[in-house]
């Protein structure tokens, strides 16, 4: 029999390399392309900017001199400290609040959960200037409720924290709602049977099960507060934080080298937080077994009533802040002429771009939503299901996580320096709509990527193997099976991209061209020009558009589901 001759051959074969089939090579090529996009859209620009931290204004290498100079600036430690403590305090306020809200949505029997879920999203649907303006209307020195502050000024840390709480609330609540939505009912029953009280069950079952969600929520809120500069700029007074330090260095002093230094400093807490999150994610595996039985809350007044009150209070606060902004957009001149008017919506009076800016924004956001979603989802699929990419896959995975930690201002500046470099073959993008689209996609890449990966990981890992055994190319299986099944997640990603790109300011303020000014920038311009009612009006219009898109997604959700997800029914 042939076995006898084998041992001699085996070592020789062991050294042979498998032939890489064409399809696997194509998939690997796809991943390489994705890597190229990410490198061009994030790594190289960021590198170009951060290199400046080690240069003098003329481009000479100065080592750590800029860092030394910055470290001796007295305001550094103050700004860093301010950033850290406002972020920490905001986190400490938002996360418990969001936890209560998410808990009510997932673990209680309160009515109108759908309404609360929708209201929860309000803050992300508008530019961050909106809450700041509304807070000024409410708590400013002429504010309707200024007495509630007991003589303290809204300008400064109080305003920053209140506005940030508003702005970060949906992010934390979304994460926590997801974390709390999966629970093993059996654990609760086991604890009940062992005679644990409600508090003990909460402490020994609920909290531990949600702890990775809590870590994630804390990390996201902390990072958002540290990197956001819109709110501190408008309502922070002269209260220095790291994000406004970048603004001061870059916009006030045109000192890019120093701006890069602060940008790097700013990356630190964000990267640390990010590492903490990764660590928590890794601990998570094997927590919930496949045999778990989903938890369904039963009515209990002692829990439901307080939670309903909490939800009403939170929803009331969110709605009234937006309502104040809407009202503010309708008054003639706050606070001296409160006659209602629609003139503030005649944007062409206030800004040359006028309504065109809104149209620009919609075009940019829609293009980015479509192209970005395609890019993100395909890349995630290649990562999860393509042929093993080794180092390339590792690089893509890592890079995909970075944007969350990069402040928009840093990203915008990085884009100018990189894409406008005369030697850059991609320079033709500069000043076009395309660069705004690319910037938007890169800026919000991380969350889109995580959503896509989560959706893909829920699919049976053998789909592609089955396809291969049936000699169907992986791409066909991607188109016929993966995409249709993941359509709800894909829509989520697209709407997320659309909404965020509609409202973002910090990165694009450096990048728009003569014909591509986005509405979110127009809002800032109008506010700077003293036309705060018009600014509020534009912000409200953006809110109307994003809210319509979100509502459209919810409304068509049913239709889309019926058309493409009929197979889910039993």
């Amino acid at each position: 029999m042939s076995d006898a001759t084998l041992p001699a051959q085996a070592p020789a074969q062991a050294a042979m390399q498998p032939i890489v089939p064409l399809e696997a090579r194509l998939l690997r090529l796809g991943l390489l392309l994705a890597l190229a996009v990410l490198v061009a859209g994030l790594v190289l620009p960021l590198g170009t900017l951060l290199l400046r931290a080690f240069q003098d204004p003329d481009g000479g290498f100065v080592g750590l001199a800029n860092f030394a100079a910055y470290a001796t600036t007295p305001s550094l430690r103050l700004a860093a400290w301010n950033s850290v403590w406002t972020a920490a305090l905001t986190t400490a306020l938002v996360v418990p609040l969001a936890f209560g809200f998410a808990y009510a949505l997932t673990r209680s029997c309160i009515p109108a959960k759908g309404f609360f879920r929708a209201v929860m999203l309000l803050p992300v649907l508008a530019p961050s200037l909106l809450p700041a303006l509304a807070l000024i209307y409410l708590f400013g020195n002429q504010g309707m409720l200024r007495d509630l502050l007991f003589g303290h000024s809204i300008y400064g840390p109080i305003g920053i924290i209140v506005a940030q709480v508003f702005y970060c609330f949906p992010h934390a609540a979304l994460i926590l709602a997801v974390a709390l939505s999966t629970a093993d009912a059996r654990l609760y029953e086991a604890a009940t049977v062992l005679r644990a009280g409600h508090l003990r069950i909460f402490a020994t079952v609920t909290l531990p099960m949600a702890r990775y969600g809590l870590v994630s929520a804390c990390v996201v809120v902390f990072t958002l507060v540290v990197t956001d500069f819109g709110i501190p700029k408008v309502i922070g007074g002269q209260f220095p934080v790291l994000a406004t330090d970048v603004y001061k260095q870059v916009v006030g002093l045109q000192n890019f080298n120093m701006g890069a230094v602060v940008g790097l400093v700013l990356l630190l807490p964000a990267l640390l937080a990010f590492a903490a999150d990764r660590w928590a994610q890794r601990q998570r595996s094997g927590l919930l077994s496949g045999r778990a039985v989903p938890y369904l809350p039963r009515p209990r007044r002692a829990r439901d009533l307080p939670l309903l009150v909490l939800c009403l209070l939170v929803a009331g606060a969110l709605v009234s802040l937006v309502a104040v902004a809407i009202w503010g957009s309708l008054v003639t001149f706050w606070p001296y002429n409160l006659a209602l008017t629609l003139q503030n919506y005649d944007f062409d009076r206030f800004d040359t771009s006028g309504w065109a800016a809104l149209w620009n924004s919609v075009r940019i956001a829609a293009t980015a939503a479509i192209c970005g979603t395609a890019l993100v989802f395909t890349t995630a699929w290649l990562l999860e299901r393509g042929s093993p990419g080794g180092a390339v896959a590792g690089a893509v995975r890592f890079i995909a996580g970075v944007p969350l930690a990069v402040p928009g201002l840093v990203l915008g500046l990085a884009f100018i320096l990189f894409f406008n470099h005369p030697a850059n073959p991609l320079g033709f993008l500069y000043g076009t709509l395309a660069i705004l689209v690319l910037n938007g996609v890169v800026h919000f890449y991380t969350v889109m990527h995580l959503t896509a990966v989560t959706a893909i990981r829920q699919l049976d890992p053998e789909f592609e193997a089955v396809g291969a055994s049936l000699k169907v190319p992986a791409v066909v299986t991607f188109g016929r099976v993966t995409v249709p099944i993941c359509l709800p997640a894909i829509l989520d990603i697209a709407v997320y991209a659309f909404v965020n790109i509609m409202t973002t300011v910090s990165a694009v303020i450096f990048l728009y061209g003569p014909d591509t000014k986005p509405a979110s920038v127009a809002v800032v311009h109008m506010d700077e020009a003293g036309q705060s009612s018009a600014a509020a009006a534009m912000a409200v219009t953006i809110l109307a558009i994003t809210a319509s898109v979100k509502l459209l997604q919810l409304a068509t959700g049913g239709l889309v589901a019926r058309a493409t997800q009929g197979w889910r029914q039993r």
Binding site: T73, P74, S75, L78, I136, G140, N141, Q142, G151, H152, S153, Y155, G156, P157, K233, V234, G236, G237, Q238, F239, P240, T244, Y247, K248, V250, V251, G252, L253, Q254, F256, T332, F333, P335, Y336, N337, F350, D351, T352, L413, I416, L417, N420, H421, P422, G427, Y430, I509, F510, G513, P514, D515, V521, H525, M526, D527, E528, A529, G530, Q531, S532
Partner: protein, 319 residues
């Protein structure tokens, strides 16, 4: 005939863009203007960031301090527009050919909210020195000179009018009354207009806009010497439409252009053009301190470092 599209960076007020464009395109039919407008700081930062591969053909309406910064970095295309020699000497580049030409002067002024003043019993100030009155404690806002061109212009004005030592003493005393140093040059006046504070120090044009919306503010140009800045024009080195840009630069110093500026600004670069702005003091020109822009621009870093050292680090909120 194909019109040349010029990318023009500007920090002019939004409402000025349309009339300026109309006038320029009428006067020079071969061009079409595409504006990129943003605040002074952002536009300057963008221009400098784009230095290696300029996207702007021209700058029309930007602080002369910014232009001097760019001149130092060899970013400006020297060109003496036709008729530029007629401008006030102080209002044009001293190089030959010129690197920039002035359009008009704007100053740091006080936006004084009369309603708040009545409520709080605040006297109407007429000089910078008046602002030291303890009655104004916590009622004054000004831009942070490190973040805002207007803030720097104000500080530069004090230094020019009062001399170094006296000016720093003045600022130290004023700091006691100051509520907030904002990051934006417009914010102080905006806030004063909304009654958030009684007095805001901003550049004058902002106040006009607000007043026209119905804000109860009075624009006060202090009589004890105000710092001023020029809005100016320059050609960018590396422009791909240099010839067309030169035509626009010629228009920018022409008399019709100056008359246009005069509709918004109290002092224009061309002597003899009578500005027609409402609510401006007649003797506006006399209140300007005399200052050497290049000199101030050169000292900018030192001034800001000094300022930051004195006031930035104590910027805990004051109530």
């Amino acid at each position: 005939q194909q019109r040349t599209r010029l990318t023009v960076y500007t920090a002019l007020e939004n409402e000025q863009l349309a009339p300026f464009k109309r006038a320029a395109e009428a006067a020079v039919p071969s061009i079409e203007i595409a504006w990129v407008r943003d605040s002074t700081g952002i536009i300057t930062a963008r221009l400098i960031a784009e230095r290696q591969n300029p996207r702007a053909d021209m700058v029309w309406g930007l602080s002369v301090f910014s232009l001097l910064q760019m001149e130092a970095q060899e970013m400006l295309e020297p060109y003496t527009p036709q008729g530029a020699d007629a401008l006030r000497p102080n209002f044009r580049s001293d190089r030959s050919p010129m690197t920039w030409t002035g359009m008009d002067a704007f100053v740091s002024a006080i936006c004084f909210n009369t309603v708040v003043a009545q409520q709080r019993n605040l006297p109407r100030p007429s000089t910078w020195a008046d602002l030291l009155n303890p009655a104004y404690r916590g009622q004054i806002v000004m831009p942070n000179p490190a973040s805002s061109g207007t803030g720097f212009l104000t500080v530069a004005g004090w230094l020019g009018a009062q001399g170094n030592d006296a000016a720093w003493t003045y600022m130290t005393n004023l700091h006691e009354n100051m509520q907030v140093y904002t990051h934006s040059g417009s914010a102080p006046c905006n806030n004063a207009a909304r009654g958030e504070y009684g007095l805001g120090i901003s550049f004058d044009m902002r106040a006009v806009t607000l007043r026209n919306q119905g804000a109860p503010i009075e624009i006060i140009v202090p009589t004890d010497g105000v710092g001023f800045d020029l809005e100016a024009t320059a050609l960018m080195r590396g422009s791909r439409n240099l010839e067309a840009a030169k035509r626009l630069a010629d228009f920018a110093v022409s008399r019709p252009a100056m008359e246009l500026y005069g509709r918004y600004y109290a002092l224009v670069a061309l002597p003899g053009v009578q500005p027609a702005v409402q609510n401006y003091p007649a003797e506006f020109e006399q209140r300007l301190v005399s200052q050497n822009f290049r000199d101030v621009a050169l000292r900018r870093d030192a001034i800001l470092r000094e300022w930051s050292g004195r006031f930035d680090s104590k910027s805990a909120p004051r109530n």
